[in-house]
Structures are given as structure tokens and as C-alpha cells.
């Protein structure tokens, strides 16, 4: 495990120690008491998760923007663990620091206090916008990610082809981003994220700008790819149904400052559909909790 960053709190727990106690979450916020909710008919997943090594471990992470009286607390002592191979969805009202959190984990931003441990895993980040380089073709966009990792040239071509095949875009390798549809661009972005050989995929509302049908298809694809590659995923969304559709666990964040207020464990019962009863049930539960939270904050 590598300690990517810590500030404010000393690293009491030595890197490599088997686990932060699950109780770490209990100390997250003295004000609100976090609870792990179990969806009915789901015994014992928590225990399994306890044994899996963590892909991401956040301990009491806070983020303050600005200084002095105008300082803005965006994230407040947030603790969260994503186990290896786990798919965690983060939902919360806008401005609850979800994107900030992903930036911190990806190393694009630094936490003001707290500890971020990514266990030496490669992390890659996907945005709501595909953020492809418009002057490069789909294949070149993917290849550049390989090139940034100094993959030898001969290998790059083959890997690029494989990655584009993975996202079913082999036929569009020579197209430039503006010649692709929104969903296809996100597929290229996904291939590019995979090209970074990441063990952990951070996704910031990646399908937010797509229509429901395209999104549905991409959910299936993402699920398949994550299973094939044993990826750990932290998926931020404001779409509760999407979270219920995809997540092994749905984590609800409070309004600003963001911190974990609720977690819902989802039973692994094979592939789900976004219009299934289980997804709808969980979604309505999460929605109620979010609505509750917003009411408290006077939204």
C-alpha cells in the first residue's frame, strides 16, 4: 500500500495493516450517525467486504476552499472505503463535494486534512464530458494514454485495437470525436481510461449527458467490463436509479459540507435491470433519504 497523501491527522494506522476498523466510519461525523443499511434479504455481504483488501480508503478527509472568513468547507471528515472489485455509487445533492472527492483521490487536488490511501493501485478518472482530444482519432486518443505510460510502440497498436474492441468501437477507430455520437465518445473515453491500466476507476457522472436508452446500454457494458477486469469503481451520480442499478453499495452524502450519512448494501444477485422492482425499491429508499437531508438543509 502506498500512502498518497495525508495531512492534519497523523497516520496512526500503518500502511499495510489489514484494515481500518469498520468503526472508522462511525467516527466520521459526530454530528450525524452513519448507518449501514442492509437491503432486506441480503445477509452478510458486509463481512465479505471486510476481508477484501481496500482499493481506496479515505479517512476523515476534509477539503476547505479559500481562507479566513470566506473559507468554504466542501468536504467534512469523510471516511469511505472501496473494497477491491467493489462498485460503489456516491449520490448526493449538487455541491456536496462529490467531484472534489474524486479529484482528491485522482491526485488532481489535495485534501486539506485526512488521509487518502489508494494502496498503490492505478487510478483513472472519467468525466461527464468525454474530454477526448478533438484533433486525434478515436484510436489515437486511446493510444495516447498508452503512450503516456511509455508502452512500446508495437504493443500500443495491438492494445489500442483490443481496447476499442472491448467497447465495440473497432469500426470507428479512424473517426474523430466530432464524428461520433455522445454515447460513442463516452465509450472512447472509457477505453482511454482502461488504457491507463487502472485498477480503480473513478467516474464523475459519466453518463449524465446521455439519453436514457444509450445510458442503459452503457450500464450493461460498464458492468461487463468491470467484471471482466475486476475493477474497483467509485461512481458519482445524481441519478438515484443509476446508482441503484450499478452499485454493490450506494453511499449517500449530505449536502455541503459533504460527509457520509447513509449506506445501502445491494445484494449481488446477478445482472440487474434499471426497471426491475429491486432497483426501484432501493432507488425510492435512497430518494427518500436524500429528500430528508435536503429538507434539513432548507433546500
Amino acid at each position: 500500500m502506498s500512502l498518497t497523501q495525508w495531512r492534519g491527522t497523523p497516520p496512526e494506522h500503518a500502511p499495510g495493516a489489514s484494515a481500518f476498523p469498520e468503526g472508522a466510519r462511525a467516527t466520521t461525523a459526530e454530528l450525524r450517525i452513519p448507518a449501514t443499511h442492509q437491503v432486506p434479504g441480503d445477509p452478510g455481504t458486509t463481512a465479505d467486504r471486510g476481508e477484501a483488501p481496500a482499493a481506496i480508503r479515505l479517512t476523515e478527509v476534509s477539503k476547505v476552499y479559500g481562507r479566513g472568513p470566506r473559507a468554504l468547507l466542501a468536504v467534512d471528515r469523510l471516511s469511505l472505503t472501496v473494497a477491491t472489485g467493489e462498485f460503489v455509487c456516491l449520490v448526493g445533492a449538487s455541491g456536496c463535494g462529490k467531484s472534489t472527492l474524486l479529484s482528491i483521490i485522482a491526485g488532481l487536488d489535495t485534501a486539506t486534512a485526512g488521509q487518502v490511501v489508494t494502496g498503490g493501485q492505478r487510478v483513472s478518472l472519467m468525466f461527464q464530458e468525454p474530454a477526448l482530444f478533438p484533433w486525434l482519432t478515436a484510436a489515437r486518443n486511446v493510444e495516447l494514454a498508452l503512450r503516456a505510460r511509455r508502452v512500446p510502440k508495437a504493443e500500443r497498436r495491438q492494445r489500442t485495437t483490443e481496447l476499442l474492441e472491448t467497447v465495440h468501437l473497432a469500426a470507428f477507430a479512424d473517426k474523430r470525436p466530432h464524428e461520433l455520437s455522445g454515447g460513442m465518445r463516452q465509450r472512447v473515453a472509457l477505453a482511454r481510461a482502461l488504457a491507463q491500466d487502472a485498477d480503480v476507476l473513478l467516474m464523475d457522472e459519466p453518463f449524465g449527458a446521455l439519453d436514457a436508452m444509450t445510458r442503459d446500454l452503457l450500464h450493461d457494458e460498464l458492468e461487463r467490463i468491470c467484471a471482466e477486469r475486476a475493477l474497483s469503481v467509485l461512481f458519482v451520480t445524481h441519478n438515484v436509479r443509476e446508482a441503484a442499478r450499478l452499485g454493490d453499495r450506494v453511499v449517500v452524502l449530505s449536502s455541503r459540507p459533504g460527509t457520509v450519512i447513509e449506506e445501502y448494501q445491494v445484494p449481488r444477485t446477478g445482472p440487474r435491470r434499471i426497471d426491475s422492482v429491486q432497483v426501484a425499491e432501493l432507488a425510492s429508499k435512497v430518494t427518500d433519504r436524500l429528500r430528508d437531508e435536503m429538507r434539513h438543509h432548507g433546500h
Binding site: 488532481l108 478518472l125 454515447g183 465509450r187 436514457a212 444509450t214
Partner: protein, 305 residues
Amino acid sequence: MAIRTQPADQVQPDLERSAITGLDSLELGLAGTGRAPGRLARKYWTATWPKLLAIVIVLAGWQLFYLSNWHGDTASGLVKSPGYTLRYLGGQLQHAPLWQAIGVTVRTAVIGYALAVLIGSAVGALISRIPPLRAAVGSIISGLQTMPSIAWFPFAIILFGITTSAILFVMALGAAPSIANGLITGVDYTPPLLLRAGRTMGLRRVALYRHLILPASLPAYVAGLKQGWAFSWRSLMAGELLVIITGQAPSLGILLNTAQDNLDLSAAIAVMIIILAIGIVVDGVFTKVDLTIRRRRGLLLGAAR
């Protein structure tokens, strides 16, 4: 494109699309891909006829001016008809001196512009990378851009004497600020999202510049290069009229000067037509480059792909 995963003819686009995309597959296939030869010819005709019409109108106006004898000295032979002038130009084009003059001028243009590109690019790169430098000279560069370059000639002549170096100096000075500004603007306007994406991918320092910032700033840089060319070409013409270098092959400017001394209107107009033609050709090259870049990036509305 080096990477080709599958020959285009093996792909069944319709099948492929329906298998992988949802509703947004409707976004595809809007652009016409057919490029029949007839369409190409029509395209060129559409682009050409307004220019031809403009030339015809100018020639007609000139002919009328000549026929009206408004100046009162058609009889003295000072004002010539367009037909006479064009015949004169045609005749000159068959003799070496005019081509030599074109050669001298174009050579100076290329050297001066190359100097401007080197200096402008280097200065632009430095300023965009070093914030204190920008604070120090950023506004000076914008100021230099608005200063008519002809005002530099006394300075240049005092420094370099009546030499080609004086002309090159003013050309470089006139064009470099535009080029530097173009590069700085391009770097500044690199989309922050792409920068985040690039950093996530692990692009750092030189690689970040090479693969992201420079390509992203290309359109603004080309716009700067184009403006820089216009400035340096004007400086060159002004320079050749002001800095009369004797004892070497005449340039276009010297031919103009000779025409002025001889009160030879046809010769003056003939040289002016040459100068105009060179300017139009170079401008056309820049426009073409700019359009190609924008089309590749999908920045041209409704353009064929």
C-alpha cells in the same frame, strides 16, 4: 492514420451502430459523404465567380475612367487603358528582370517571415510559461502590435544602414508580436477539462506540451501566423520603397520606385498587380490550413467531413 483496426469495406456500419448505440445513433450519418466530381466543379465555381465578377467590375470602372478622360491627359499618354496595361504586364512577364525582382522580393519575404516566426514563437512560448515575464512584457507586445511598423524604419536605417538587414529587422519586429500573441492565446485557451484529462493520463511537462497544449493552441497559433504574414508583407513593401538599395538586382519595390520616377502608370499598376497576386496566394494557403484544422476538429458548422 497509422492505426487501422479493420478495413473500412469489411464493416457493416448499420449493424454495428444498432448493436452498440442507443438513441444517439441518430446523431450519426447526418453529414453528406458523397463527393461526386460534378459537385466538386460546382463548388469551385461557387467560390470563383464572385471573384471573377469583382475583377470584371474593377476593369470596367478603369476602362470608363480612361474613356471619360476625366483627368484630362489621356492624350498625353499618362493614363493607360486596362487593356494596354495588361498587355504591358504580359510582355514584362516574358522578360527576366520582372522575374528577378519577384525572386528578390520573395526571398526577402521568406527570410524576414521565417525570422519573425522564430522570434515570435520563442517569445510566445517563454511568456506563456513564465508568469512574471508575461506581467513584464505582455502588454508591451500588445502595444507593439498596434504600432505601424513603418515607424521603425528610421531606427532600422540608423542601426543597419541602407541594407536588406534593415528591412528584415522591421519585418521581424512587425510580425513577431502577432505570432507570439497567437501562441499565448492558444495556450491560455487550452480547455481546462482537457488539461485535467491529460494529467489523469499521466502527461507531464514536455509530454503535456507536446501532446496536449501545442495541438490545442494550433488554431490560435495559425491565426497569429496569418496576421503576422500580413504585417511582414506590408513591412517588406514599405521597406523596399524606403530603403533603396543600389548596386544589386532590383526588387519589386525598386521597380515601383522606378515607375514613379518615370511617371509610368502602367508599370506601377503592373507591379501592384504582382504584389496583390502574391498576397492573395499566400493568404489562400493560410485560409486553407485554417479550414483544414477546423474541419478536422469539427469546428466548421455544416461542413462535409
